[in-house]
């Protein structure tokens, strides 16, 4: 074994300018080169992405890696390039979904699209008439009824899972988790069977009923996470001061976990607001406005999108995109509110920690 002087590899040193240049070159060159090849040799771009760009990028990153870190640098480079490639794929798809809904949907959106219903609209009516107001109202009513039942029940479940000492908690958790995988169409079929068995007629309330099994597990799971974040000391201190469990919950834990529980509510809403199949099976579609979820047909946003997409006229497709945009905005608002509250919670929890340490 000899100790010949090796080229000095110093991975702990900060990148100097020449290495920065190498990294920049390795990032830009392969893309530019493969673009040139594709445009000059008229190769299928799909093939070029996999067969030209990716190998070039791996080789370029590998050269920089080996120069910087020696032999192990190649493994670094390979993993970095591959993970970035795959991740970028997902993000590009997500952006593509968002952008296409925004650009196509904004063509249909107008004040009257948001405020009118579709009573006098046929497949060939221009986009200047008719709108989604009735569908928006139906979605809000149907999802609202589901929320009123599912949220208290879900929170009570999460209280059972976090506060009680019952031995059945593990089974309850397993069953709830299994329930969260319930296919939405099965939930619709279940309610359809209920309707058929008791001889009811389809109406909005059964749509709510079909959304309920989908919303409940989401609320229960997120609420359980929120309640787990409340320090156990708080509850124990309240109990030690002589408070009964329910007072400890309502006066100590509930205020502390409030924003987390609201997040559970919002994520539950986002889960069911775009569900289509259960509503198609249990609620009859309607072109007019209906305020009554307990009787008669009712339109919802997902059913609206579904219905207009199935027709073959281009103005109908425009309507479908417009309704999809409204639906997307609803989801985005709910989701953004949930994120905002989640962040507010983590900022609030810092002062309480300091207090506890005093």
């Amino acid at each position: 074994m000899s100790f010949a002087p090796r080229p000095a590899i110093q991975p702990w040193k900060r990148a100097n300018n020449s290495r920065r240049l190498q990294i920049i070159l390795a990032t830009l060159l392969p893309g530019a080169l493969s673009f040139l090849i594709v445009s000059s040799a008229s190769i299928d771009p799909n093939l070029a992405l996999i067969a030209i760009f990716l190998p070039l990028q791996i080789i370029a990153a590998g050269i920089v890696g080996v120069r910087a870190y020696g032999k192990r640098g190649f493994g670094d480079a390979l993993l970095v390039v591959l993970t970035t490639f795959f991740s970028a794929f997902v993000l590009i798809m997500l952006l593509s979904v968002l952008l296409s809904v925004l650009s196509e949907g904004s063509k249909a959106i107008s004040l009257q699209f948001l405020t009118q219903n579709n009573i006098y609209v046929s497949n060939t009516t221009s986009l200047d008439y008719g709108g989604v107001a009735h569908a928006l109202l139906g979605t809000v009513l149907i999802v609202g009824v589901t929320t009123i039942v599912a949220v208290p029940l879900g929170i009570a479940m999460s209280v059972y899972l976090t506060q009680s000492q019952s031995k059945l908690r593990g089974i309850v958790r397993t069953v709830t988790q299994a329930l969260s995988g319930l296919p939405s169409v099965v939930s619709g079929l279940f309610v359809l069977s209920v309707i058929g068995t008791f001889g009811f007629s389809k109406s909005g309330i059964f749509g709510s009923m079909a959304l309920f099994p989908l919303m409940l597990p989401t609320v229960a799971r997120v609420a359980e996470e929120a309640l787990k974040l409340v320090p156990a000391d708080l509850r124990l201190a309240a109990l030690a001061l002589g408070a009964p469990n329910y007072k400890a919950f309502f006066q100590v834990i509930l205020p502390a976990a409030k924003s987390g529980l609201v997040t559970a509510l919002l994520l539950g809403l986002a889960r069911v607001i775009g569900e289509t199949a259960p509503l198609l099976l249990t609620v009859n579609v309607n072109n007019g406005t209906s305020w009554n979820p307990f009787n008669g047909p009712m339109e919802t946003l997902p059913a609206y999108v579904y219905g207009y997409l199935s027709s073959s006229f281009s103005s109908s497709h425009q309507r479908a995109w417009g309704a999809a945009l409204v639906l997307l905005l609803l989801v985005a608002v709910l989701f953004g509110a949930a994120r905002f509250l989640g962040r507010a919670k983590s900022m609030k929890s810092k002062p309480t920690k300091q207090k506890a340490s005093k």
Binding site: L78, M93, S100, V172, G181, A270, W321
Partner: protein, 335 residues
């Protein structure tokens, strides 16, 4: 307590006093009601699963009785007027599995890459942005993904399929027997759509497990001269494989139940597409239910109920297995 007696008193029996029962049960009436109501809510999940099974079974029974076990593995669905009703869901079950499998195969590398980037490569701020974006993808309604898949993704995917067929057409999966009916509405496209929908769930499980790995183990392996790749293959993957498999199974369960998005992008036909991923015909239990539902007679509705029952049982089993694996590989989540 009675009077204290000297130990030597022979009148005291030598047996130990009965054990005092220790219990941590609720003491006040309010507490009793509090715990009782939360338990009722919790047991409601059992009731709900039972209700779903019972009501589906109730309506599915005529069809199941009529078809017997052939309902599950048979390959014919004849529901036209004037012909004896035959309902067998076999091809659709196979189609569901095929599409879900394609989706999982596409989604898994992407999800693992994303989780790796979020946990090991990005700074905390960027990681948060990525996590939010992935969660947003999870919150997108399937009808929107279906709309996008039909208008925006299908043309792109068709060009991918053309390339695949051109260069890898000799491979059985990419063969096309009938060129007139190729590419549009194929299981390949449906698999991609399903992959987009299950990437978030696989990512979030994998991310959770990656972030709980022992950092010392990873830093130690790096200090011993391992590259990122070798550390990933020899340290990260082996220690987290159980949870990742569980996450993938969860995604599989979600993929099996996907309805509307597949309904839009797939050309649904009731014949078995054994694995010609690029041919424009296939099916899935959920989307078959949706596509038949509009014009079904009451007898056929019963068959669709039975199909729903079969789908529910399959997803229950897959989800149960997945959750068991995930929970076992996340011991830190036990409270």
């Amino acid at each position: 307590m009675g009077k204290l007696k000297p130990m030597s008193d022979s009148s005291v029996p030598k047996t130990a006093p009965a054990r005092r029962k220790l219990s941590a049960g609720p003491l006040s009436a309010g507490d009793k009601w509090f715990f009782r109501s939360t338990s009722i809510a919790a047991y409601f999940s059992f009731v709900l699963v039972a209700l779903v099974l019972i009501f589906l079974f109730l309506k599915a029974w005529p069809a199941l009785q009529h078809q017997g076990f052939a309902f599950v593995y048979g390959t014919k669905w004849i529901a036209e007027d004037g012909q004896p009703l035959v309902m067998q869901i076999g091809p659709m079950i196979y189609g569901s599995l095929l599409i879900a499998l394609v989706g999982v195969v596409i989604a898994t590398p992407m999800a693992i890459s994303l989780a790796y980037m979020i946990v090991f490569m990005l700074g905390s701020k960027l990681a948060k942005v990525f996590t939010t974006l992935i969660d947003l993808l999870a919150a997108l309604p399937s009808v929107i993904i279906g709309l996008w898949g039909f208008y925006v993704f299908t043309p792109t995917a068709i060009s991918w399929e053309t390339t695949l067929h051109q260069y890898l057409g000799w491979f059985p999966l990419f063969q096309v027997e009938n060129p007139d009916n190729a590419f549009r509405g194929s299981p390949f496209i449906a698999g991609w759509i399903v992959a987009v929908m299950i990437v978030p769930i696989v990512t979030s499980v994998t991310r959770e497990i990656f972030s709980q790995l022992d950092k010392d183990l990873i830093n130690g392996a790096l200090a011993l001269g391992g590259s990122r790749l070798s550390v990933f293959r020899k340290v990260i993957l082996p220690t987290s494989s159980g949870g990742v498999v569980g996450g993938v199974l969860l995604g599989l369960g979600r993929a099996l139940g996907e309805t509307v998005a597949i309904f839009y992008v797939l050309q649904i036909s009731f014949d078995i597409n054994w694995g010609n991923l690029l041919e424009g015909h296939g099916g899935g239990v959920a989307s078959w239910i949706l596509s038949r539902f509009g014009e079904a007679s009451p007898e056929e509705i019963s068959g669709l109920m039975a199909a729903g029952l079969v789908l529910f049982v399959i997803t229950l089993i897959v989800n149960f297995a997945a959750n068991t694996i995930v929970n076992r590989s996340q011991p830190w989540r036990k409270n």
